[in-house]
Each structure stands twice: as structure tokens, then as C-alpha cells.
């Protein structure tokens, strides 16, 4: 610690240069924090379903292929399953395509049977939902986002489902209540969600009637999930609609992977950013040491050993990179809520930020080591020859 004031003063010897270098590293780590967190969120998605007692059954070959509604009854008969519900991907937005809404047609009784522990919603609102054919229950965050209130009519534009007989893609719902999630960690994953009646959807759509997107099962004993999943899939083996049953989290992973390898793309961007940063910061550090050769030689005359001079230059590089990384990661943490708004359904956490510190240390060592070795190997007599 006693060297810190000296290292700090040395770092700011050329203020403008250090400031620009610092800013470039800050921006790189701001990007790192945001992109790495998004990549982490895609790799570790929140299912939107709490607990490990939920299974999801989809078509074996693609979650975009439907299952016959008749499968529901067969799955109900599997021992160990307490409730089964069914859902279909509606794919809709409100007013503009950027306002994507996770609207799901649900069967009221079975849905709340499977998810009875997941949501906070009053009995009165569930009752109102049952009694209103065009009713919808909306997540409180979504209500707040668009300033909706109970009684409002909400038109949604589906990107998939046309209505019969008009062929219109526009569906209108009446808000009868709102809900929240019990588990705060699921809040962002559920923030863009609203439910409406499956009956309305199935009767109103112009194609795909009598099919469902996927089934969600609640099981009595979570330790039996693998065995129960096998039993479900065995029911439909060799049929025209073979199934794949998996825990809810795995389902989300498969769902997200439809969008492509997000992690690879994000890491490729980060790789390019840090590759450039290595040259920029490395060049700055080399230049900084080159300019200070007489000063480093003076330190050696005062009795600073080769190892200590090496340590001072490395410490300077560490201080620069850690300071900039700290600011950059702090900023990224601050902007995560804004990013989360643009990535509804993806659960963002700051879990990916600590590796940023490790990256900063690695960066500091890579850019600091060559000039530090040069400083260490400095011959005092030669270095002082031009300036004594």
C-alpha cells in the first residue's frame, strides 16, 4: 500500500493519455458487463416457473410443431402427475412490433392447478376472468409499462394466428385483473406476460384447432421427474406425434436456442473488443515506460531492485485496468435494468460481473508484462548515460 501514492502519481503523469486509455477500457468493460450478463441470462434462463416439480412436454422434433389436444388426457393418466395444463405460443405485440407481449391462451382451472404456488392473484380476479370470455389477466409490470387498468380493452396483433372468418391477426381482450409472481427472481421473466382463455383462442383461430403448443405438468415427487418424463414420452412413442418431456428449465434453454447461439455471437463481439483493447492499452503502457526510462533508472540507483521495478510497472497496469473495469462494470450494473426492459422474458442477474474482474487482471498482466520486463532488464548505466 505504501507504493500506491507513487504508482497513482505515475499513472497520471500524462493525464490526457491516461484519461483516454481509461475511458476506452471503461467502455470495453461496460460492454463486457452488459453482453456477458445477457449471454449468461441466455445460458441460464429462468423458466418463469418456480420449483423443480414441473415438466414440459413438447413435440419431439420441434417446439414449433403442435401436439393433439387428446394427449392431455393420456398424460393425466400417468402415475405421479397431479395436474396437467396446456398452452400455445401466441406471438403478439401491442401497437408496435417493439412492444412484444408474452400472451398465452390458458385453461383456467388446469393452469392454476399446475401453477398454484407461482403467482399472487386474488380469487375475485380469477372469478372475473372465468366469467369474462374475452377477459385477460396481465402481469403488474406490463400494466404499469403501458399504463393499463382494469376495464381497458387491449388489442394485440398476433404474428401467427388469424381469426375466422375475417382472417384478421388482431385480437382484442378486456383486462379483468392483474397478477404478480411470488418468486422475485422470476419477476423479469414474467414481466411481459398476460393470459387469456384457451377456449376463445381455439374457437377463434382459423387453423390449428384442437391442438396445443405444449403441456405443462405438475408432479408430486420431484425426485421422480426423470422417470415420469420417460413414462410420458413412452405413451407417444412411434406415434405421429412423438413427444419430448423435460424439466421446465431445459425447455426454456431449447426455446432460447431457436434464436441462434446468442452466447457465441456475444462472445465473438467481446473477443473483438478486447483484442483491440490489448493493442491499445499495450501500446500505451509500452510508450509510458519508454518515456520513463531515465526515471526507472533513477529508481534503480536509489536501491529499487529489478523485481521491485517489475512489480511497480505491473501494479500500475493493474491499477489502470482494475479502476477502469470497476467503473465499466459498475456502469453496466447500473444499466442492466434498462437492458432487461428490452429483453423481456430473459432473466438478467449481475452474476456474470465478477468474472469481469478476472478479465481485468488478465488484461493488466498481458499489457503490463512486456513493459515491466523491459523496465526490469534496464541497465542503469546505459539508461542514465543520456541524462545524468
Amino acid at each position: 500500500m505504501k507504493y500506491l501514492p507513487f504508482i497513482w502519481a505515475t499513472l497520471w503523469r500524462k493525464k490526457t493519455r491516461t484519461l483516454f486509455t481509461l475511458l476506452s477500457i471503461v467502455i470495453a468493460f461496460l460492454l463486457f458487463g452488459v453482453l456477458e450478463t445477457v449471454a449468461y441470462a441466455f445460458a441460464h434462463p429462468a423458466s418463469g416457473l418456480s420449483g423443480s416439480d414441473k415438466l414440459i412436454t413438447t413435440n419431439k422434433y420441434s417446439i414449433t410443431l403442435p401436439l393433439p389436444f387428446a394427449d392431455v388426457q393420456e398424460v393425466r393418466s400417468v402415475p405421479g402427475i397431479t395436474d396437467v395444463t396446456w398452452i400455445t405460443w401466441f406471438g403478439s405485440y401491442y401497437q408496435e412490433s417493439k412492444n412484444f407481449i408474452f400472451a398465452f391462451p390458458i385453461d383456467t382451472d388446469s393452469y392454476f392447478g399446475v401453477h398454484k404456488d407461482d403467482f399472487i392473484i386474488s380469487e375475485e380476479q380469477i372469478k372475473a376472468f372465468r366469467e369474462t370470455r374475452t377477459g385477460t389477466l396481465v402481469n403488474v409490470a406490463l400494466m404499469k409499462k403501458f399504463g393499463w387498468k382494469v376495464g381497458d380493452k387491449v388489442p394485440l396483433h398476433s404474428t401467427i394466428w388469424t381469426q375466422k372468418p375475417s382472417g384478421s391477426l388482431d385480437w382484442t381482450f378486456d383486462i379483468v385483473g392483474s397478477f404478480d409472481v411470488k418468486d422475485p427472481s422470476q419477476a423479469s421473466a414474467q414481466a411481459g406476460t398476460m393470459w387469456f382463455h384457451y377456449e376463445l383462442f381455439d374457437e377463434g383461430r382459423s387453423f390449428g384447432n384442437g391442438t396445443v403448443g405444449w403441456l405443462e405438468e405438475r408432479i408430486a415427487d420431484s425426485s421422480q421427474s426423470a422417470a415420469i418424463a420417460t413414462r410420458i414420452d413412452a405413451l407417444f412413442a412411434n406415434s405421429s406425434n412423438e413427444t419430448k418431456t423435460q424439466p421446465a428449465k431445459d425447455f426454456m434453454m431449447a426455446f432460447i436456442k431457436q434464436m441462434g447461439d446468442i452466447g457465441f455471437v456475444l462472445h465473438a463481439i467481446l473477443g473483438a473488443v478486447f483484442f483491440t483493447l490489448l493493442f491499445l492499452t499495450g501500446n500505451t503502457m509500452m510508450q509510458s515506460v519508454r518515456e520513463r526510462i531515465p526515471e526507472l533508472a533513477v529508481l534503480k540507483t536509489l536501491g529499487f531492485s529489478d523485481g521491485r521495478v517489475l512489480g511497480l510497472v505491473i501494479a500500475e497496469s493493474l491499477l489502470l485496468c482494475l479502476l477502469a473495469a470497476g467503473i465499466g462494470l459498475g456502469l453496466s450494473f447500473a444499466v442492466l435494468p434498462i437492458v432487461a426492459q428490452g429483453l423481456q422474458g430473459v432473466h438478467l442477474t449481475p452474476d456474470a460481473l465478477p468474472p469481469g474482474i478476472a478479465v481485468a487482471v488478465l488484461l493488466a498482466l498481458i499489457v503490463g508484462l512486456p513493459p515491466a520486463l523491459r523496465a526490469m532488464r534496464l541497465n542503469i548505466v546505459d539508461a542514465l548515460a543520456d541524462k545524468r
Binding site: 505515475t10 503523469r13 526515471e295 533513477v298 540507483t301 536509489l302 529499487f304
Partner: protein, 231 residues
């Protein structure tokens, strides 16, 4: 000379310049007593700075023995020489070689970073050294805010602060006007006379050499005693 603080015996220093071997010092012998102020003069290329580097532990001889403050420097490796320099030598350079981003006080504290002194003790000692050289009032100023004479006083304070056995000065007045040079030389003289510091000073200036108690002349790597004054 018995009880010498500096003792050189048959010291040879050769440099390789490409394929050519350059003899800089040839079987040189020298003794400097504790508290002695020695001026080393001679033409450029005569080996003055090389001799100074050897006495200050910045360089090692090709052959021969160098003993300073009881330590055989020719037997030390880099790490040992660095520790020895920190403990026993203070350096003063022609162009001061202060750290431009540090205040005078922080510059003087630099050698104390190698000790176990606390921050408060380092500050106290640095201010004491600045007071000794008569420039404590400029402690918070950076080198570019000091005159040449003031900067050289700060450099001398830095050389003194760890209480070294010997001061090694390479043309300490070479960049100063006459008045500032005389002030610095009086200061060195005072350090030798009143504080018992052994000083070896390289200079081209005969007037500066007159401040020393003993003048040595170097030519082509050999030493010639010119005169000894009553110290």
C-alpha cells in the same frame, strides 16, 4: 590509507563496443577516508563517470577489488547491489533526475519506501532532509516549479534522507549558474565537514573542485593526485 570508507585495488574496467574492447580503467587504486570530500576531474572519456559508477555500486569491475563501507562490491550480484545502494549510497546527478509528477517532499521520500518506516515517519524524515538543505518551504512544489538550484537541493535531500555512508555526485553543478552552483557546493562542503559524509564528486569545473578537500585528476583511466586542502 587505513580506515578507508572506499578502497579500490587493481580495478580494471573494460567495455566491449562491438568487436572492439575498450579499456576504461587500468589497474586503478584509490582510498577515500570517512568524511572526505573528493573531487574527481579530467577530460571527457577519461573514466571519471565509470569510476563513480563503480564506487556507487551501479556497475561492477572487470577485475579487481572494490570495498565501500566494508562491503566487497565486486562480489555482489544485482539484488545485493540494489540493497547495498539503498543502505549506503546517495546519488546526485547533473540534471537532478527528480520525478516530475511528485512534489519535492514525495521525491525525497522515495528512498524511504524501501525501509520499514511508517508514512508519518517518512514524511518527517523527508521534511528534515529538506530543512537541512534549506528548502523546506518548497516541499509541496513539483520539480517544474523549482529553479535549478532548488531542484538540485531537493536531489541532495533525496540523496541524504536515508542517511547514506557516501554521497556520489556526478557534475552536481553542471546545469547551474555560478551563484546556485556555489550554494550547492557550500551545502556539500557543510555535509562533509559537519555531518561527516564522505563525498565523491565528478566535475569539470576547477572552481567547484576547490570546494573539495582533495582533488584527483583522471586521464586515460589512470588517477593523478592534484592536491589536498585542509578540510
Amino acid at each position: 590509507m587505513s580506515g578507508a570508507i572506499v578502497s579500490l585495488r587493481n580495478v580494471v574496467k573494460r567495455y566491449a563496443r562491438g568487436k572492439q574492447i575498450v579499456d576504461v580503467l587500468e589497474k586503478l587504486n584509490l582510498d577515500i577516508a570517512q568524511g572526505e570530500f573528493v573531487a574527481l576531474m579530467g577530460p571527457s572519456g577519461s573514466g571519471k563517470t565509470t569510476l563513480l559508477n563503480l564506487i556507487g555500486g551501479l556497475d561492477t569491475p572487470t577485475s579487481g577489488e572494490i570495498t565501500v563501507a566494508g562491503q566487497r562490491l565486486d562480489q555482489l550480484k544485482e539484488g545485493g547491489l540494489a540493497r547495498w545502494r539503498a543502505r549506503h549510497v546517495g546519488f546526485v546527478f547533473q540534471f537532478y533526475n527528480l520525478m516530475p509528477m511528485l512534489s519535492a517532499q514525495r521525491n525525497v521520500e522515495l528512498p524511504l519506501l524501501l525501509t520499514h518506516l511508517s508514512a508519518a515517519q517518512r514524511k518527517t524524515n523527508a521534511l528534515a532532509a529538506l530543512t537541512l538543505v534549506g528548502i523546506a518551504d518548497r516541499a509541496r512544489h513539483k520539480p517544474n516549479e523549482l529553479s535549478g538550484g532548488q531542484a538540485q537541493r531537493v536531489a541532495i535531500a533525496r540523496a541524504l534522507v536515508a542517511d547514506p555512508t557516501i554521497l556520489v555526485c556526478d557534475e552536481p553543478t553542471g546545469d547551474l549558474d555560478r551563484k546556485s552552483a556555489d550554494d550547492v557546493l557550500h551545502l556539500l562542503q557543510m555535509l562533509s565537514r559537519e555531518h561527516g559524509k564522505s563525498i565523491v564528486m565528478v566535475t569539470h569545473d576547477p572552481k567547484a573542485a576547490e570546494f573539495a578537500g582533495r582533488q584527483l585528476h583522471m586521464d586515460k583511466g589512470a588517477l593523478l593526485e592534484v592536491g589536498t586542502l585542509a578540510a
